[in-house]
Amino acid sequence: MSPRAQVYILAALLTLMGAGLTIYKNVELGFPLLPGEYRTVWTIEAKVGFTADGGPAKAALTLPRAQRNMEVLGETFSSSGYGFNIISEDDEYRAVWAKRQASGVQSLFYQLDVHQTPGAALEQPLDLSTEVVKPLLGAREQEAVRQAIYSVVETARERSSDTRTFTSELLTDLADNRNQDRNLIFGYYKDRSFVDIALLVLSAADIPAHRIRGLYLEDDRRRLDPEDLLEIYDGKRWVVFEPQSGSPGVPKNFFIWQRGGKSLLDVEGGRNSGVTFSVISNDVPARDVAMLSTSQEKEALVDFSIYSLPIEQQSIFKLILLVPVGALVVVLLRVFVGLRTSGTFMPVLLAIAFIETQLFTGLAIFVLILILGLWIRFYLSRLNLLLVARIAAVVVTVVILMGAISVVSYKLGIEQALTVTFFPMIILAWTIERMSIVWEEDGPYEVVIQAGGSLLVAVIAWWVMTNRYIEHWTFNFPELLLVLLGFIMIVGNYTGFRLGELARFRQLVR
């Protein structure tokens, strides 16, 4: 196979790999393609409060189970002075706080961050008992209530075709306060909630049902009590109903806490116990959400990437990942334009320094150091020093110049110039040395041309590297480097003319 074909095949493979990984990260892991995308993250706080009796106290709170359309990004428990652990009990998780001696009002907190994702709320099947416990309505005074219940059931049954439509009808009837039977039932069970009564009537109709506890995610809600949904078994599967409206399905912003009818909170050794919830929404950068949600699953792609590094190193990598982009700019300008620079990739280092210092400060400092350095170098050249010693002397001079620039500008109140330290000193010293040779051999005009060319390339590289899209892509999709590599390989195969050559050879055409 010819080298050229190899280049194209390799470049195609690299591009495919890079693009594939990028698409996977975007589609599957939710990394945003564009910068500045935000996602809503809900912070839900459950506050368990009770008055302790003075003896040993224990509180057990049922924790939310995994829900398909809600991704839990993180949980925190606060329990000062309490022993804490999480136990698993009949496919439910419970947080258990315990203390040997507690008295007075106690507050325990459980907080979690969730993020809504598209998809169905619940997964089937669920191992809940479909056994129906008929209500005990034997006593004489309950006869009227019993009649009313069966009348409601009968009406609903007549107006429906299957269990689902029946439940819908039943719930609408129970919500309708003009219905006499309904009013009788509600009058009898004054202290019960709507969902309790609905469960009672459903069991009378021989339909397996239980409650679902949860919360509606709405911003800035405090001291919320959990809300209930109904779930019935239609013979094949479990179906959720919103009790007040009778409509099937889990409401969109409903966060399911507990499925099944067990208690939400058990407290031993305390009184007046209760759970209240508060909900706050935050807009969080989409990438952070993606990072948090994938770190839970320990996605290998993320786990073995620069994201697993400490934040400080990550920010260094943010710069390092821009270097290939700068190199690409140099390659393009060399191959397609034919710009002459002093030191092939020196402009990339300059561009990185410009990122830290801001463009105009950087340019000013560079030109200043170059001019002062050249001037000192001309003096040094008269002293007959060995080359390495002379360059080292220039390095020291450059450092002193940098220090001087920093101190003087700081005293003058120009804080910008403090960033001078980001300039690559050794490279600057070499540049000064090379420039002074060019000056001696080819004259000052050539120095201006080469320094100007380097600066032009550096400024273009800086401009590309500070583009927010480029910054976003290089850091969040480092696999795009493979695409870049493929592209550079293809550019390396270009055998056409450079822009500069169109001017250089123009005489030949005439």
Partner: protein
């Protein structure tokens, strides 16, 4: 079909298609299709290090300027002075210099001082510093430590005196797979400060491979008919010993093993053509000097069959001188 971009590219741009049609070779095509393909990396040291070139040239009986001394390690002052003290004229060069950098030519003495061709004087101390700079790798590719060579100054053939100002006239021949394909004479001018680099203002004179006569001359991209300093018309210029010179260039192919090669040759009054240096990455300015593109000629040779490529030096020279003869100017 010309785009106008006068401010930056004084004189505008030409269409790349026009250049392609004329068979002009661009830098990218030269690098990818010729240098990378025909020049083996392992043969580079032969041409990149001028001391190696000299050694190899001896083996192949190719005449070169006489080597007076070479310093492999950093020489002491005493050693440098020992060598240059008895010399009237000499050249100090870095063995691995590129683009003519770091070459110091001394043409005479004035008391304790040394004279450069421009008439400027340098002291012994300056010369020692120059030697030390070369050693430290100031002029070598990548700044690697270098070796210093001191050569006898070529006793230039007087033919070119009228066409060169203060400088060293040399002839560049491009040899492709052993066939000389194009030649030019580089004449230094006052403008180029005695240097033979075309981009510094030297005149590039295209030389007809068949006859050794000038066919075309260019200074700073503009066509010229007379030397700007000496006012001599280039139409009278004819390189003596031309066939011998082309033969020398062609034989560099065997010596270096490089398929795409630039040979720099000077004419000595007594010894005839001498190989100054060979170059594995010869520039493209030769096309401007000749007013002809290289690509068509290179492609012609690429089409040759194996038998033709196996020919000996004399046959190749005869073929090139015949086939690449300049078309009479209209």
């Amino acid at each position: 079909m010309r785009l106008q971009l006068p401010s930056f590219f004084r004189g505008g741009l030409v269409s790349p298609f026009a250049l392609k049609k004329l068979g002009v070779l661009g830098m990218n095509a030269r690098n990818v299709q010729y240098i990378a393909r025909y020049n083996d990396r392992d043969k580079y040291p032969i041409v990149d290090d001028k001391l190696n070139t000299k050694r190899q040239a001896k083996r192949y009986r190719i005449p070169v300027p006489e080597l007076i001394a070479a310093f492999e390690t950093q020489p002491s002052r005493k050693r440098v002075m020992e060598v240059i003290e008895p010399l009237e004229k000499f050249v100090i060069k870095p063995a691995r210099g590129s683009g003519g950098k770091g070459i110091l030519v001394i043409v005479g003495r004035d008391g304790d001082e040394y004279l450069k061709p421009s008439g400027n004087k340098v002291t012994a101390l300056d010369i020692q510093r120059h030697v030390s700079n070369i050693h430290s790798g100031l002029y070598s590719l990548g700044g690697k430590p270098d070796r210093v060579m001191i050569e006898a100054l070529v006793d230039f053939d007087p033919t070119f005196d009228k066409y060169s100002f203060e400088g060293v006239p040399d002839i560049r021949v491009i040899v492709f797979r052993g066939y000389p394909v194009m030649a030019m004479l580089r004449c230094s001018t006052h403008d180029s400060d005695g240097k033979a680099n075309l981009h510094q203002g030297a005149v590039g004179v295209g030389v007809d491979l068949a006859t050794g006569k000038a066919s075309h001359a260019v200074q700073r991209g503009m066509r010229v008919d007379i030397h700007p300093d000496t006012q001599m018309p280039f139409s009278d210029l004819e390189v003596p010993d031309w066939q011998e010179l082309v033969r020398l260039a062609a034989s560099c192919y065997e010596m270096t093993g490089l398929g795409y090669l630039g040979c720099d040759i000077v004419l000595d009054r007594k010894r005839g053509p001498l190989l100054l240096e060979a170059n594995a990455r010869p520039g493209l300015a030769i096309q401007i000097a000749n007013g002809v593109g290289l690509r068509t000629r290179l492609e012609h040779i690429e089409q040759m069959d194996l038998e033709q490529l196996e020919k000996n030096v004399e046959e190749r020279v005869a073929y090139s001188m015949d086939y690449f003869a300049a078309k009479p100017l209209a």
